[in-house]
Symmetry: C2
Subunit: 413 residues, 2 copies
């Protein structure tokens, strides 16, 4: 039921020199399903990430943040591997959850011959249930045995939960004469309202990037991609987006002020936005892909507030599902977004090319059949012009359908 | 499909001395349906209200606010009547909307022999469509002809939109030896997340209350009733809650510090909460009535933030619909509520009498079957203890069902 969702083709996903990938069917929640993923990094790789702001931040997220901070310090031992399990979020699990996450890190470290602090753990699945650590640990040897460079499609499959299809993409760019290969995967279809982070997203490339530069890059990219999507406004406990620069290629980026940085940032942002949009296209029950653009604001923050208010409104989302141009609901969502000094009499609103609201009221030239025509489409852009400044923001979202309710009512069964 | 919703009985709704009510079937949106309501006030009545904070505040709300402010001033001519139409919200309609609302006020003023500024207009229905003012005006003479004291049940029916049943209640109390009669009506079933106001709510009583005292009372009552409910988080453009003190009885209240004020406030709050909860019980597609109590907070504000975060989460609401104790979703909603210094390791969460989360993790004594048992009920209380202070807040909400999607996908058809 995904909306114009790009199905990745295994042969199109390019290996990134310096990364090897293995997976296992560990039976964590369901049998015969890839649910454990290991990605090993060559020496010299740098890693940076952004994580959920949810206060019920999952145990693996807490450990990944701490291990990443230690590895990023000048004297820290580098990150050796990322380990991801699906079927259990290991969130809302208290001290026990931390102990079990550390236990699985130690098990992988033993297999790879490194320290447990060199492992970054990630989990996704049901919250408030204990991690079946013995299944994770039992699956790790098989995953390590499968390690190879050309395994990105399997990696994309191994991190799926309610996703209906894997999400992955590759790009090849040339920067300052150096060939750079980028490949990334993402997952997520519900509990999606990333905040300074995303659902699970992993993107690797083979340039060499100094740690402080990568730390800047990951935040900049997240703000332009995974932080611009919402399905249901629910920020997960486990959201993480990781960038890996393996350093196995010939490009080196040591400064954020260099033209190489700008070119690399553009390529990473483009692929990240593709992966983020793939999450929305495969949103639970989604039948429409909606782009909400808010322009002419005083600040990016107020534009984002309004764009998210539209993107989260159940009434707006059900109208899209019904292809019903009940567009007053969009005005209502703008009005309660919390921009207290908004002068609605200056506001204009468009649905694709159709000018719906003019100076805060119905455009006299607006015809219902024009709105109806656009609402029938599977891809729709809402554009709001606030007429009070030069700032803008874009949010990507989907509609709210019967299937969203069905999927989430039946999630654990 | 309402949840244990109290069906008002016409004979139980007591007239309030000083108020007369008339209605008409004006065919504004659908034929053969009461859609125009007029309530006239005896001389000496005082009126106070709270209104939506939505920036796309509807034309009638703008006029009602201005007329009420003028009437509340010492030299102002008193409010003579309230006029309500359903079928059209007259919101997102710009200057034309204001002109049409004023036109209908003038028509009623002509029939009642008063000034247009003495009328308070209210509208509810579809946004962004022009008010069919000629139908409203044509319906007013019939409504005026029907004016009588014993018409509250018809009034409750006349303000319904997607409501499946009218919402009304009466109370008789004795305060300082004076008999006081209170009767109120409300409407609303979707686009419900009142903010300093409510959907349409009108409550009258026959005590005499000085204007400044009534102004305090209406805000105090709204904060304890209509501002504690949410169905879908969508704050309407037309929300209004009005208190009318007709002064036709023998009780006089001239100070907020008097015991009479306290007793009257308690009675008005109790009836208002009943009317507010009736909106949730009749929430679009609702199958469960959920009370969310957040306690031991540092401030009421942070408790409300967390309670609303739980009450708005589509994932929490679908879990309630499915009677699935997927209670980690509640923790996730607490975690992203925006209370940045929340120490989740101190937090406890209960579902009715079942202790689910203890010190931020799963209570070792929690058994799935206990959660399952509570989730089957039609009325459920979620209680969260933050262990960081003495403040508390309560929010009432309902689940998110297939019928919510159906009702809102088909609203205009």
């Amino acid at each position: 039921m995904a909306v114009n969702s790009p199905k990745p083709v295994a042969a199109d996903l390019k290996p990134v020199a310096g990364i090897e990938i293995g997976y296992a069917e560990a039976g964590i929640k369901k049998p015969n399903r890839k649910d454990v993923l290991v990605m090993t990094l060559a020496p010299g790789a740098t890693v940076a990430g952004v994580f959920t702001l949810n206060r019920f931040c999952a145990a693996p997220v807490q450990i990944a943040k701490a291990n990443l901070a230690a590895a990023s310090a000048t004297s820290g031992a580098p990150i050796k591997a990322l380990m991801i399990n699906t079927g259990n979020a290991n969130a809302g699990t208290g001290e026990l959850g931390l102990a079990l996450a550390r236990q699985s890190c130690a098990a992988l470290a033993g297999l790879l011959g490194c320290d447990a602090a060199q492992i970054l753990p990630f989990s996704t699945g049901v919250i408030l249930e204990p991690l079946p650590v013995e299944k994770v640990v039992a699956g790790l040897p098989a995953a390590v045995a499968k390690l190879k460079a050309d395994n990105w499609f399997n990696a994309a499959e191994a991190i799926m939960t309610t996703d209906t299809q894997p999400k992955a993409g590759s790009r090849s760019v040339t920067i300052a004469g150096h060939a750079v290969t980028l490949t990334g995967i993402s997952k997520g279809a519900g509990m999606i309202r990333p905040n300074m982070a995303t659902m699970l997203g992993f993107l690797a490339f083979d340039a060499k990037v100094a740690q402080p530069v990568l730390d800047v890059l990951v935040k900049q990219v997240a703000d332009q991609s995974f932080n611009c999507i919402t399905i249901d406004g629910d920020t997960s406990t486990n959201d993480s987006f990781m960038l890996v620069a393996t350093g196995a290629g010939t490009l080196e980026v040591n400064s954020v002020d260099s033209p190489e940085y700008a070119a690399l940032a553009a390529a990473v942002t483009e692929l990240s936005l593709f992966l983020a949009q793939a999450i929305i296209r495969d949103g639970e029950g989604a039948t429409k892909f909606i782009t909400v653009i808010v322009e002419e604001g005083k600040s990016v923050d107020e534009c984002r507030k309004i764009a998210y208010s539209i993107g989260h409104s159940p009434l707006v989302k059900t109208a899209f599902f019904a292809s019903d141009p009940n567009l007053g609901r969009i005005l209502a969502a703008i009005g309660y977004a919390g921009v207290d000094d908004l002068d609605v009499d200056q506001l204009n609103m468009y649905l694709d090319d159709v000018w719906v609201a003019k100076n805060g009221g119905r455009n006299p030239d607006y015809r219902e059949e024009d709105g109806q025509r656009v609402m029938q489409q599977s891809e729709i852009t809402v554009r709001v012009k606030l007429a009070r400044g030069a700032a803008a923001a874009t949010v990507y979202t989907c509609d709210l359908s019967h299937d969203y309710v069905s999927i989430n009512a039946d999630y654990r069964s």
